[in-house]
């Protein structure tokens, strides 16, 4: 057994999975409240990565930041998450709310339209070229060795820690706050929640804000760990986030996190161990999605929907 390879792929998988988990959380929250698959979510993640990049430039760039590197990173996260949170609210207000009582296929088409709109706007505004975060210059990447086989970098630790931290914060918001209670009530029975005096519009907007902010955090983390961002990065990442949400059980917050890690680990271990894995890792990931549909359609932590007939 090559333990160095095993631990390496484990850390890579967890790092990638952390990013997918943050994207999956947005998918699952919106689905939980609205029963809508927000296909524009991957593109919000891309916008988040770009906002982070422009904040970095605004603060002097990686080579000569106006403040210390880690403070720049913190500001990138705050501004990126706020901007994308507001973008998410805007998308809900203008693209989904008018269709709330329309047949379910209408908001789905609208979501695809918003996705294409965001992708093409990014291409038009920022071009198709890659942008580099230059993380080495910004914060100095260090790798830590434990024994001969275990290596992890400070950015990988940051990514996994931020992802887990944000998930805990989200879980606390949903389980311990009045707004969280309103979210759960809306998810359980929207009409009943409205009759109890809950402002459904406000709850839905807040859900979009949270989901989009988490996606932005994922986009910025991607830029920091993997160095590069580009206009079309949201498409595949969005699909993987969606896959993670479905594998974990769409509508379930712990399920989204579990699904994210599972997808990340599948991708990393497929690259490391399976034939042609580095080229066909996506094939293995989506095979997992199909397998999950066949074995457990409601996902790992999802509960089967009981329909009255």
């Amino acid at each position: 057994m090559n333990w160095s390879l095993f631990f390496g792929e484990l850390v890579s998988g967890l790092t990638l999975g952390s990013i997918y988990a943050l994207i999956a959380l947005g998918y699952t929250m919106v689905y939980g409240i609205l029963k809508l698959l927000n296909f524009a979510h991957g593109d919000v993640y891309m916008v988040g990565a770009f906002v982070g990049f422009f904040v970095l430039q605004w603060l002097g760039g990686a080579l000569s930041p106006a403040v210390t590197g880690w403070l720049v990173v913190a500001i990138m996260f705050v501004v990126g998450m706020l901007a994308c949170g507001l973008l998410g609210v805007g998308i809900e207000r203008f693209a989904y709310r008018p269709l709330r009582n329309a047949p379910r296929i209408a908001p789905l088409i609208s979501a695809l339209g918003v996705s294409i709109f965001l992708q093409n706007s990014a291409l038009l505004l920022w071009g198709p070229q890659f942008r580099s975060y230059d993380t080495f210059d910004l914060v100095g990447v260090k790798s830590y060795h434990i024994g001969n086989n275990f290596f992890i970098s400070n950015l990988q630790i940051l990514t996994i820690a931020v992802s887990i931290g944000l998930t805990i914060v989200l879980a606390l918001v949903v389980s311990r706050t009045r707004t969280g209670k309103a979210m759960r009530a809306t998810s359980f029975d929207r009409d009943a929640a409205e009759m109890m005096g809950i402002s459904i519009d406000r709850v839905i907007s807040f859900t979009f804000f949270l989901g989009s902010a988490l996606a932005a955090a994922g986009g910025i983390m991607f830029g920091l760990v993997f160095g590069q961002i580009f206009s079309l990065m949201g498409f595949t990442a969005g699909l993987k986030g969606f896959t993670a949400a479905v594998v974990g059980g769409i509508g379930s917050i712990p399920g989204a996190v579990l699904g994210g890690f599972l997808i990340g680990l599948t991708e990393a271990f497929a690259t490391g161990y399976l034939p042609g894995g580095s080229v066909y890792a996506n094939l293995y990931v989506f095979a997992l999605l199909i397998g999950m549909f066949l074995i457990r359609p409601s996902g790992l932590l999802g509960s089967p929907v009981i329909q009255k007939v």
């Binding site: 390496g8 890579s12 580099s132 990447v141 993997f226 590069q228 991708e267 690259t271 890792a281 549909f293």
Partner: protein, 392 residues
């Protein structure tokens, strides 16, 4: 709703598979030119139009813009010293982006239908050359690339008489690379990561075969050109590997690979790129970086003049200067009687003869019957303080 989720997932899966299948299409595009392709005579006039196909935008824009700068550098000097003028008709091929090949084909079709265009400079990538052959050949246009190096594109006979290049083929590049790795660096363990494109896999195959023949242990893997996370594949590279060879086309990807190597504590492993990574983004990774590159005469006065204008040291586009010179020369000769056809320009392309004394490459530019240069050496470069310096 469950059905909707299933349907949406399957639709998404189909989209991914379709994109992958489209992206991996590598047909040789064997389109026969019509018998009268390009025989229509046009009045040459004072201004001659040349198609310029390059990645103006997209992941390969950093090298594409450099090619455009060099092509324009020739155009400007030509326009200053000649009574006739050159005009470029630009087509952005967006090399390396998700829809790059389709953009290149669209550009080739646009040039083909523009009757004023008598010859083409570009495209940049070997895959693009393959993809655009049908459109360019069908329109009777001769095209000269300053960077497409795949060995087979001049040998498979598909574009003979239409396609020419001012760079040596990968068969020459692979010889220089394997000789340097075994002869100068004296390495015994090398890992090759291709990017699944025709240019990359072709060059990787050749280097792999030559290194193995010299007794070197060679590992091999591939990545997708759309990939940005290389950590999983870096983990797979044995720690005993002394050098990782990356025959890639996109400098930002090479940069990301090198940075992620460092992030995983593998910063001391040597990296060697191919001509596609001959860019400051790659050389600035550190002194562990090597590269192979086309022949260019660095002491030529034109190199100094170019650097003065563009404030850079990038020579990647220099063969595109020569490609423009070749096309402009062929059009001038074809236009001697005031009219020219694309077929006449192609005939003149074959007769190109730029002596070494006036060639920016430092060697004569003449083509063999396949469209390759008769003389075709490749240089090896080492990154010293972030700048590539020729070492072999």
């Amino acid at each position: 709703m469950k059905k909707l989720v299933v349907a949406a997932s399957l639709a998404a899966l189909m989209a991914v598979l379709a994109t992958a299948a489209w992206g991996s299409t590598r047909g040789s595009n064997k389109v026969a030119a019509p018998a009268n392709a390009g025989s229509q005579l046009v009045k040459c006039g004072k201004t001659r139009s040349i198609g310029l196909m390059a990645p103006f935008t997209g992941p390969a824009a950093s090298i594409g813009i450099n090619q455009v700068h060099w092509a324009n550098f020739y155009k400007n000097s030509y326009n200053r010293t000649h009574k006739t003028k050159i005009k470029f008709v630009n087509e952005d091929t967006m090399l390396g982006s998700a829809n790059g090949t389709a953009e290149a084909v669209k550009g080739a079709q646009a040039l083909g239908s523009n009757s004023a265009v008598l010859g083409v400079v570009g495209p940049a990538g070997s895959n693009e050359v393959k993809a655009t052959t049908g459109a360019l050949k069908g329109a009777g246009l001769g095209f000269v690339s300053g960077s497409a190096t795949n060995t087979q594109i001049t040998l498979d006979g598909t574009r003979t008489g239409y396609f020419f290049r001012t760079v040596p083929p990968d068969s020459s590049q692979s010889k220089s690379v394997s000789a340097y790795i075994t002869g100068k660096l004296k390495l015994k363990n090398v890992y090759i990561v291709d990017d699944q494109e025709a240019y990359s896999t072709g060059l990787a195959d050749e280097v792999q075969a030559q290194l193995k023949a010299k007794g070197v242990t060679v590992g091999r893997d591939g990545v997708s050109q759309q990939q940005s996370d290389f950590t999983a594949i870096i983990n797979k590279i044995p720690r005993s590997a002394q050098l990782v060879y990356l025959p890639w086309q996109l400098p930002p990807k090479g940069q990301a690979f090198g940075q992620q190597m460092k992030g995983l504590g593998r910063g001391s492993t040597k990296l060697m790129g191919s001509d596609g990574l001959f860019d400051p983004l790659f050389s600035k990774l550190g002194s562990n970086v090597y590269d192979s590159f086309f022949p260019v005469n660095p002491s030529d006065k034109r190199v100094a003049a170019f650097k003065k204008i563009h404030k850079g040291t990038e020579l990647f586009g220099a063969p595109s200067y020569v490609a423009t010179q070749v096309v402009a020369g062929a059009i001038d000769r074809a236009c001697k009687n005031g009219t020219a056809s694309r077929a006449e320009v192609r005939a003149q392309l074959k007769k190109t003869n730029i002596p070494a004394s006036t060639s920016l490459l430092g060697l004569p530019v003449q083509f063999n019957k396949n469209g390759d240069m008769v003389k075709k050496p490749f240089g090896i470069y080492h990154s010293v303080k972030g700048v590539f310096v020729r070492v072999a």
